[in-house]
């Protein structure tokens, strides 16, 4: 990337981070550019995908007389139907398209999650109960599942296990927290890789001076 391009990219990063100081128009500029770019990119991909996954098939079907390929006109029409949700008069048509997508999505999820999340995880949970680990993990798992069922309510059958489940969940939340810190730090470190290099690094003291000037100006105005 050229020096000017690096400076522009670094300036955009600093514009976003300026929100850490206070809300300002520069942050909104960066936000607007990002949203526009992301959506524009999605549109381009949508066009290419529709061409490659459907239009080419229909063209081939018409050329060879293959009915199964010509029938791809149906999902094309259903896809266009999705946009009718923006019309008050014809919104009902989009429900058929949504129903189609929803049904495929649900069915695929249900098949997979039953096998992976329910059967697979229960199989994975079965372990010998002649070790401390085995006992601790089994009791821990059962107590969390009971907590999901009973929550704060008391139960003679479950006894103290739902309460124990809460504590086990707190350890799990600690794991999520620790990992989310590592994740976010990774991204900041990566972002800084683009800023803390010449010539972009010279923008950092410039930004710091701008902030100091703003602080002093606002303090003076407050007095």
């Amino acid at each position: 990337m050229s020096a000017i391009a690096s400076l522009i990219s670094a300036a955009l990063v600093i514009m976003i981070y300026s929100i850490l100081y206070r809300e300002n128009p520069l942050f909104r500029v960066g936000e607007g550019i990002l949203v526009g770019a992301t959506v524009g990119h999605a549109v381009v991909q949508a066009i290419f995908n529709v061409r490659d996954l459907a239009i080419i098939k229909v063209q081939q079907g018409l050329a060879t007389g293959d009915i199964s390929k010509i029938l791809y006109v149906i999902p094309i029409l259903l896809g266009i139907g999705l946009y009718l949700q923006f019309s008050k008069k014809y919104r009902y048509v989009s429900k058929i398209s949504i129903a189609f997508m929803l049904s495929v999505g649900i069915a695929l999820s249900m098949r997979g999650l039953l096998y992976n999340n329910v059967i697979g995880q229960i199989k994975g949970a079965i372990m010998p109960l002649n070790t401390i680990e085995g006992i601790a993990y089994t009791i821990g798992l059962i107590s969390v599942l009971l907590y999901f069922v009973y929550e704060e309510k008391t139960s003679r059958i479950a006894g103290p296990l739902p309460n124990l489940g809460r504590y086990v969940l707190m350890i799990t939340m600690g794991a999520y927290f620790a990992n989310s810190i590592m994740g976010r730090l990774s991204i900041v470190i990566g972002t800084m890789d683009g800023v803390l290099v010449t010539p972009s690094i010279y923008l950092v003291p410039v930004a710091a001076l701008v902030i100091v000037a703003d602080v002093l100006t606002r303090r003076k105005q407050a007095e």
Binding site: I8, L12, V13, I16, Y17, V29, G30, E31, I33, L34, V35, G36, A37, V39, G40, A42, Q45, A46, I47, F48, V50, L53, Y72, P75, L78, G79, Y83, F86, Y92, K95, I96, I98, A99, L102, S103, V104, I106, A107, M110, L113, N117, Q121, I122, G140, L141, L145, F148, V168, L169, M170, I171, T172, G174, A175, N179, I181, R184, I187, G190, T191
Partner: protein, 210 residues
């Protein structure tokens, strides 16, 4: 018309999902072929869905610009960027052309990673202000989080090898208990919601009662 489409939607929902569900359990060539076609049709409809956000943004921000509402200038910027990317992608015919790569690396990459990484700073201030051991549960969370952080970063091992080992105990315990229970819960929950949607008990995905 609305009632007819509701009925058609319900029939589509039941028939399509049953075909795909049954195909998982019954190896029948005709059923497999039908399920594959229905699956691939959903892929095509999914491609169309990518453009929905653009349509929505276009209508909302155009209105803002035409009515010169507050901060309308940012809407101009947003739409201009959107059209720049669309035009560049369509003219060059690829999202990995040199020109497209240039504007993507120039704008999207730094902005997106900066926005996403900003959370690190917010988590830092929250760690100081809000993360207090006010009771046993929060104390447990805190202790587990600290040892896991020492496991995640090489510094833990450098300070003392016991620290990441304790972190690993917490990690393995959390993995075998809490994380596993959450996955089982997600699985059972999805099955329940899916069945409710298929048998028509859950109407909200299709817009509820209209």
């Amino acid at each position: 018309m609305s009632n007819v489409s509701k009925q058609i939607s319900s029939i589509v929902l039941v028939v399509v999902s049953l075909v795909i569900l049954v195909d998982f359990f019954w190896a029948n060539p005709t059923l497999k072929s039908l399920a594959t076609d229905l699956n691939n049709w959903a892929v095509v409809i999914g491609a169309f869905a990518l453009g929905l956000g653009a349509y929505s943004l276009l209508t909302r921000h155009s209105k803002r610009i035409l009515q010169k509402k507050e901060s309308w200038i940012f809407s101009v910027l947003l739409l201009a960027t959107m059209f720049l990317f669309i035009a560049t992608g369509l003219i060059t015919g690829s999202v990995t052309s040199d020109e497209y790569n240039f504007i993507y690396a120039l704008m999207v990459q730094p902005l997106s990673s900066a926005l996403y990484g900003m959370n690190a700073f917010f988590i830092a201030s929250a760690s100081y202000r809000a993360f207090k051991a006010k009771n046993v549960e929060s104390g447990l969370l805190l202790v587990a989080a600290i040892f896991l952080m020492l496991k995640n970063a090489p510094i833990g091992e450098a300070i003392h090898p016991i620290l990441p080992q304790i972190g690993s105990i917490f990690w393995d315990f959390a993995g075998a208990t809490g994380m596993r229970a959450i996955l089982i819960g997600i699985g059972i929950g999805t099955l329940a919601i899916g069945l409710r949607i298929i048998i028509g008990q859950e109407k909200t995905p299709l817009g509820g009662a209209e």
